[in-house]
Symmetry: C2
Subunit: 414 residues, 2 copies
């Protein structure tokens, strides 16, 4: 049995061990995790420092190092997020349907955990705790595979989380870490259909692409957000500028920020001039020729630019003839995440929402609202941009499946 | 652009073309399909005969040829099944939730089609029509890839279905057939993420395994049914024998038939002797040693036998010490399809249903009931034995996704 097979077998055994776990026990586990992390923040910070030193030695970027860093304050925030998950309603056991099919033959459709969830992510140690807590609350066992750059932090965080489970008498194999962060082991993990029910990749598009291409375990694809804002012919330009600015610059590194601005030709002069003034050089504009005729651009946008998720203070801009062209552009270049139209035209609003193929389609509001909290799902483990299983924010309910329970009295099929 | 890319692009274009299709138009399409097939049954039977002649030349089995055969009666049945799908409620457009998140910011969660569904199947021409009709009713475009042995039948069926769509003014690319049935093209189809949203394999375990292993498009895995019946210590033996016989022999070739019988040691002598008398040599018994001590067996069951879906008049039998051993066996060897306990013990019934990991868990009723009609889903496109997206019978609703529609009035995130 290989290293990862052994981990998988332990996860599956733990899944069976916690089948009968109650909501109270799960909440108790989460509270214990929140407490143990805060109580040991000194140790965690010391282990995290090893990762930070390596990252500096390896010349990682400032943004990377920032994401990797754990401070007392950040550990407290991670801990309070776990306590918030404990507050959320337990989705497991909910009766989803059923009825009496024939005399004395009853069917009940009941919500159950997915089973064993593999989470493959990069070097943000907060994801380690967050993913473990969401899986625990939804009755799932998790196998966490974080990036090698965060291995010391992750080992330490998982050690304490496992100890918290042990302390209250829950199998510590409910939270497992892949300590061997080699590519080979990650590859084997993606083929571990016998033990892993679902894989969730969290991270950049390279990571997600690799998991989608190599995994035989069912995957929930998350986080690729090539999002658009379309300013229609009849639009409140003040609103358009305010939302475009918010959706681009409030937090450019996240998946629900916009990457391309589409503007109706008649709204283009005013909208683009105002935005140019608002951004005042803070955002690099890759515009098409029509854009360049109105405002100065950093460069003429290439076909490739329209496919790119910049995750930065960069925006591609294209002037379009009508709402149909905008919709066709979004459906061609978008990643089915979050899309927005700014319009005062009822029929165009309706058409855009109907015809754009995305998890969330906005009229007159910033795409930055796409997240589990705003959408009423509580915490989220990511935002799905595939259509199978779950679309948009993945909350606790999206980490579940169901089973049919049939109560008979000797019925046979004739 | 390769052959399959061209097909994919046409499918995606058709998907966008039918975004606004109404329930009435979909039903009209289904009625037109039902009518055109019956009106042209002579031509269809003639084309089917070519496939039958090839199958005979190639020395295919009687069972294979039976599944491939179309008769006037069978075409009428296929047609009436399509009319039944027209009668089912339309799942699309259903509002699944939503609410007012903040002042003037409303979210609506709405059911939408999956998009483009690829169906990969073997040589049963009825599947061709059935899959196309279920996809049409659920607003999806389908790309059908049937086996090469049925290519003449499939070309003819799809030709008429496409003509029916054309006649009523719906894009005929809503139903597409992969006419090049080479392995290479099937392999390319499994990587067509740009155009295909979901792949559904329908057929034997070899086909399903190949799709799961090679596809980067999300897959709904269906149909593998290594199902068990467990006869508990305190059970109505008459009921156990009747259900075991029904679940094994009423239609051994289908996925919801049982492959292994587990019997509590104290119930084993009476149960096995009675079943042996009922089957009277019609069912080959591969028993463990304890079974062989009670009744004559065809051979001693191997480890491999317990993993095998015989789909035939063969059953593996194992005597177990208790319900825990039965559950562990089912969870180890089963394919998470349909599992049954025969018991009069309330606690064992509850435990078995709780702890067995399967789409459908029965107490005192035949596993043969696992299907979309019995479960109230209407027609089905298969029975899923994965936990992602949908579990158990896949009806119209299981062929859908959802999207979030957000109605704002200028909100930005702060």
């Amino acid at each position: 049995m290989s290293y990862i097979e052994d981990l998988g077998a332990r996860a599956k055994a733990a899944e069976y061990a916690i089948r009968n776990i109650t909501t109270e026990q799960k909440n108790e586990a989460l509270i214990a995790i929140a407490e143990i992390l805060v109580a040991n923040k000194g140790v965690i910070i010391a282990e995290n420092r090893k990762d930070l030193e390596n990252a500096e030695k390896n010349g990682m970027t400032k943004a990377f190092i920032d994401r990797l860093t754990l401070t007392a304050e950040r550990i407290e925030k991670i801990s309070s997020d776990v306590l918030e998950i404990a507050q959320l309603a337990d989705p497991i056991g909910e009766i989803l349907g059923g009825g009496q099919v024939r005399d004395g033959f009853n069917i009940v459709k009941k919500r159950v955990p997915l089973g064993v969830i593999g989470v493959i992510f990069e070097s943000r140690p907060n994801v380690t705790v967050d993913a473990a807590a969401l899986c625990m609350k939804s009755g799932n066992v998790c196998i966490l595979r974080g990036g090698s750059d965060a291995i010391n932090s992750n080992k330490c965080l998982v050690l304490f989380m496992r100890r918290a489970l042990e302390n209250i008498g829950i199998s510590n194999d409910c939270i497992l870490l892949v300590e061997d962060t080699s590519r080979e082991v990650a590859g084997e993990m993606m083929k571990l259909n016998e033990y892993i029910d679902v894989l969730i990749p969290r991270g950049g598009s390279g990571l997600i692409k690799s998991v989608v291409e190599n995994s035989t375990v069912p995957v929930i694809q998350t986080g690729e957000g090539n999002c658009h804002l379309y300013v229609d012919e009849i639009a409140d330009i003040g609103m358009a500028v305010s939302i475009a600015d918010n959706a681009k610059t409030q937090r450019p590194s996240v998946c629900n920020s916009i990457e391309t601005l589409l503007v109706h030709k008649n709204a283009a002069p005013e909208t683009l001039k105002e935005l140019y003034a608002v951004w005042n050089g803070r955002v690099a504009i890759y515009g098409d020729k029509a854009t360049a005729d109105i405002i100065p651009v950093e460069r003429i946008a290439t076909e490739e630019d329209f496919y790119t998720e910049f995750n930065d203070y960069i925006i591609a801009v294209k002037v379009v003839d009508n709402v149909e062209e905008a919709i066709a552009h979004v459906n061609k270049y978008g990643t089915r995440h979050s899309e927005c139209i700014i319009t005062q035209n009822y029929e165009h609003a309706r058409k855009f929402q109907q015809e754009v193929d995305a998890a969330a389609v906005y009229v007159n509001a910033s795409t930055r609202f796409s997240d589990g909290n705003v959408f009423g799902l509580g915490a989220e483990i990511g935002i799905s941009n595939q259509k199978l299983h779950a679309r948009g924010p993945l909350g606790l309910r999206e980490l579940t499946s169901y089973k049919y329970l049939i109560y008979g009295s000797g019925q046979i099929r004739t």
